[in-house]
Symmetry: C2
Subunit: 337 residues, 2 copies
Amino acid sequence: MVKVTIREIARRAGVSKAAVTYALNGQPGVSEATRARVLQIADELDWAPNQVARQLSVARSETLGLILARPAQTLSEEPFYMAFVAGLEGVLGQRSYTLALRMVNGPDEELAAYRKWSREKRVDGVVVVDVNADDARIPLLKRLGLPAVLVGDPQLADGLACVWTDSTTAMSAAVDHLAELGHRRIARIAGPADHGHVWIRDTAFAAATRRTGLSAEVVHTDFSGAQGAAATRTLMASTGRPTAIIYDNDLMAVAGLSALDNLDIRCPDDVTLIAWDDSALCRITHPTLTAMSHDVVGYGAEVATRLFDLLEGAAPAAHLYSTPQLRIRQSSGPLRA
Amino acid sequence: MVKVTIREIARRAGVSKAAVTYALNGQPGVSEATRARVLQIADELDWAPNQVARQLSVARSETLGLILARPAQTLSEEPFYMAFVAGLEGVLGQRSYTLALRMVNGPDEELAAYRKWSREKRVDGVVVVDVNADDARIPLLKRLGLPAVLVGDPQLADGLACVWTDSTTAMSAAVDHLAELGHRRIARIAGPADHGHVWIRDTAFAAATRRTGLSAEVVHTDFSGAQGAAATRTLMASTGRPTAIIYDNDLMAVAGLSALDNLDIRCPDDVTLIAWDDSALCRITHPTLTAMSHDVVGYGAEVATRLFDLLEGAAPAAHLYSTPQLRIRQSSGPLRA
DNA sequence: GCTTGCTACTGGACCGGTCCAGTAGCCTTG
DNA sequence: CAAGGCTACTGGACCGGTCCAGTAGCAAGC
């Protein structure tokens, strides 16, 4: 069986390879009659350009990379990543780009993977998630000259392009909501303190509780359900226990709700709960969970779009994607005397 | 800045391009002295092979494809996919292969995507998930000659390579567990009837309840928490309601538990629940959920390994990965009179 | 001394596209 | 009718690897 290449099309059409590319790529330099003939032959042969050959020729891999450096367990439990990837992929697919997804075990492996991708010219750009303060990836990516969009606050991006959501305003709204319900002692069960977005929210939480005059407490965890439940139990056992808790993700909020159930503490009668990410989980519990909601798929799409901007020569910039919205559900209740 | 290519290394080492590849790839044909010199120069220049050029030359894309054809919502809520992808990726990463992940809106788009990948030589093989009876993807992949491993039962694979878990034995174990607890009327809240693995489990459920003499009922849903909860409410409202329910995934089981809570039906005192996939969700509820557990990351790794076998010329075969194990937790209880 | 065989190379085709520099042929224009 | 300009091509370099077919040089064997 003869291979379906541009050369074969040229042979059958009785023209040169170059004429065929001009015809196929809609470029000038061929007559309409020739173009039509070439297109028809290409169609008959069911030809499509060999992408690897194209990529070598245009010196682009037409691939964008995403590295996830959390354990498989956490990744699979948090709905965030899959939705985010779906958003990215939607935009890449439209432009016939491929998403290269790597999962590694830690920061060092992630740095090594970027170096490898860069040297091997495997990706044209990367999306960086879970940015933290003084992130070692930022200087590396700058040095490699690898176009990158960070998912995180401009305060963390150090001049690289980033897309962020305004969690400061969102946190303020969540605390106001609790204050309006009459709560005076509230707590935040947060992710690891060294995560950039956790730090941003810690700061916002401190500012908002100071502003509203609420007494506040913060516990840091590893984002897992187990630690979310444990932190909830600890808080509930303390003297002067809080009457409302803001969790840093939905998994911990669900786990916290179960922990309260186990302690015979009722939600929302005794304690009000707020989850940070909103997903189906928050709607299937009883009571349903008040949650800070944002469109993660859209977020992924925005990040991909900004990365394409960079590839097309745009200067790195910070883009505000949106401010998460508080969805009030059954787990919110007024303070009872 | 001069580009770091094999030609530049050859120039500096004073040998030909061919000698350089032999040296770098550990092939015979160069002296040890030359090899050492070439390796050192490559190291100094921080050289790594341009993957696109390699791929063109060896006529492989060194990329494997996975297409997910569910809506982003479902994908992100079910921990299965992310864990499975993590398993795949672990094996691909070791071999320096890339995972190309596409997300599409339906079966037609999925077929079109395979055709495109095949014509464009973008992937060397694909992993196919959510196989159903008379799956249109199977004849297409055969026709395209695209190496593929199906995630599903050999009954569905029609001669293509597949990796499966023995849900028939697992279902039997689950039903036995309920029978031993004294339950006589049990129900299964299943996924969509046209999903292959749902059909396999439907058949297994029918066989196991017949064998044990239990009265059985099946409700099909779309796998979502909302429909899982709705099906639970319907079952509970029926006369002669079941005293145990086996759910087809963990999300529906969690939703079912909340629905029971809402109806003031207690688990496990009044009803025993079993979830099919086991994830963190099953361990953070109160009561914790008995679940059919299998190692999804390992499953993904097995599938990737089998796909590499195919690429290396192995004949397509069916591989049993494992039989899911029942993890008995607090949601299991004896029938109360 | 001549053949044989081995090591250690070299030169260049090749993968399948893209794209630049040239050119044949025709029309216009003064 | 020659010069100039335009259209519609062609030939071939190029991207950066891999790998095959050849070959120089040297030692061993008869």
